[in-house]
């Protein structure tokens, strides 16, 4: 467990009042700079002295990044909006409840009160070998400790691995993928918009980064289109404890059912791969079908087709199949 040391090593602290000012600082300090949102991911790294930024940019005073705005074609959530605000926002509760379900089950009330939506999306993996400062692939080394024959890997990935077998810890990510959300990334050369499902980095592309954010860039907002407003949603988080735990696996889906048939749907799972995965093959199986236990099971079988368990996580294969099935069954009405 954590060793309590006296103090976080010193750094220079900046509290800019605009996103532009923050990006300027990120560029000036480069690789040694750290963006501080709610801090629930950051403090662990600093206290364990595994990451030692020389400059920290605290976004607490950047008001333009805070709050939920209802727009003409959906909802825009500022990066610094707390998870509690997301979980209790009336418009999100009314029309995008898959996200409020996800946000309200993250960690604890205290963490949701300070933790931000962007922080939940860009947080680093919880693989304890990596978190413990072991020089693994993700940390720039040349091995994966979690997939060694004697490794403890009950929480690790069954899909999408490439050298690294850690999983993405974000609970809001699958919900936002199911909602076809887009993320706004601001950098020195302006803004770019990335689809939620493309935002998360595959270890086969860049093993040291969890997202497509580059140094000097800021995730400023999440845009949820009205495509799925008021749709039929399903969200389920499987965790070892009823609170305060990272998910073993989560499933999120958005569905349009018309005349007893699934007209269209989006389904995403997290906790299965190093990035939240969009179940496109399962979606294809389900589209145009009447929701039932059988078709749900078939979609589940398709979802786990390429799954490869490690020594201690084979339970995740039936778990994933069941979660896909559970997202479909009971939707007949």
């Amino acid at each position: 467990m954590a060793v309590i040391r006296d103090m976080i090593p010193a750094f220079e602290l900046f509290q800019p009042t605009s996103a532009e000012g923050a990006i300027e600082l990120l560029i000036r300090y480069g690789e040694d700079c750290w963006v501080l949102g709610g801090g629930l991911d950051s403090f662990d790294w600093w206290k364990e002295r595994i990451k030692r930024p020389t400059a920290v940019v605290d976004l607490v005073n950047v008001d333009e990044l805070k709050g939920v705005r209802v727009t003409a074609d959906g909802v825009e959530i500022g990066a610094m909006t707390t998870l509690t605000e997301v979980a209790t926002h009336p418009e999100l509760l009314a029309n995008y409840s898959v996200l409020t379900d996800a946000a309200s089950q993250i960690a604890t009330p205290q963490i949701r009160n300070r933790g931000t939506i962007a922080g939940n999306l860009v947080q680093d993996t919880r693989c304890w070998y990596y978190r413990g400062g072991w020089p693994c692939y993700r940390a720039g080394g040349n091995t994966c400790y979690a997939s060694a024959p004697t490794a403890m890997n009950r929480e690790h990935a069954i899909l999408g691995t490439s050298r690294c077998v850690a999983v993405s810890p974000s609970d809001s990510a699958p919900a936002l993928i199911a909602l076809d959300a887009q993320f706004v990334i601001q950098g020195s050369r302006g803004e770019r918009v990335v689809d939620a499902e493309d935002f998360f980095m595959r270890p086969s592309v860049d093993i040291e980064r969890m997202t497509r954010l580059k140094p000097g860039e800021l995730l400023t907002a999440t845009h949820i289109p009205s495509t799925w407003a008021g749709a039929t949603f399903y969200y389920e988080k499987v965790e070892d404890r009823k609170a305060w735990d990272f998910a073993l696996m989560t499933v999120a889906s958005a569905m349009r059912i018309n005349g007893g048939v699934i007209e269209d749907l989006r389904m995403a799972v997290n906790g299965a791969a190093p990035f939240p995965i969009c179940l496109e093959d399962s979606e294809r199986v389900l589209r145009g079908q009447a929701p039932s236990e059988e078709i749900g099971l078939r979609a589940g079988e398709v979802a786990i087709r390429d799954a490869q368990p490690l020594r201690h996580n084979d339970y995740k294969i039936p778990l994933m199949r069941s979660l896909v099935r559970r997202a479909i069954r009971g939707m007949e009405a």
């Binding site: 010193a10 801090g39 629930l40 403090f43 009330p109 205290q110």
Partner: protein
């Protein structure tokens, strides 16, 4: 260690504009914190957590440090009325915000906060190391939801651990606290 650039400025004589540019946006160490209704002037390091400042600079040792990793809840305080882990927020981040610790709950005349009274009346905690954190979460709970069910109270207190595992009694405190705090129930 001073960087060569700063020395260059020093030798070139006073250049206030350039000096200001170099530290643009950087925070001052000497700040004023609003703690328990008092303005407290305090010298805070950039990397200092609120729990550290409260305990070791302001002498408010009622706030406990258990894990120092947002994983136990012993350090829970209210920041603008919202319960937060003081081990996992920089003191500089809460500048200008109202901070309430366990020491700030009772009235100036010594009258206990309804939540504190409820804990006393129900017999108190076991070892009580977790008590300040739990009590702060209960204060936030009765503010947000004055009439919780036992299940809702359990949700509201799910960010605090009790290693004596006396959760059932703690939920009884919470229900009693809600009863004492809710004006609706005063004359029932």
């Amino acid at each position: 260690m001073l960087r060569p650039l700063r020395w260059a400025i020093f030798f070139k004589g006073p250049q206030p504009l350039l000096g200001a540019l170099l530290v643009q946006g950087s925070v001052e160490r000497l700040i004023t914190l609003n703690v328990n209704g008092q303005q407290r002037r305090v010298d805070v390091m950039k990397q200092e957590t609120l729990a550290f400042t409260l305990r070791y600079k302001l002498g408010l040792t009622g706030t406990k440090l258990g894990c120092d990793r947002a994983a136990c809840g012993a350090c829970t305080v209210l920041i603008d009325g919202v319960n937060s882990y003081s081990c996992s927020v920089l003191t500089h981040t809460v500048r200008g915000k109202e901070i309430t610790t366990i020491e700030g709950l009772e009235e100036p005349d010594g009258t206990l906060h309804p939540v504190q009274q409820a804990v006393l009346d129900e017999g108190g905690f076991q070892c009580a190391f977790c008590a300040p954190g739990f009590i702060m979460s209960m204060v936030a709970m009765v503010e947000a939801n004055p009439n919780p069910t036992r299940e809702e109270a359990a949700q509201a207190l799910s960010g605090n651990l009790c290693r004596c595992a006396d959760y059932d009694k703690i939920l009884t405190f919470a229900m009693r606290a809600a009863e004492y705090s809710s004006p609706l129930d005063l004359h029932v």
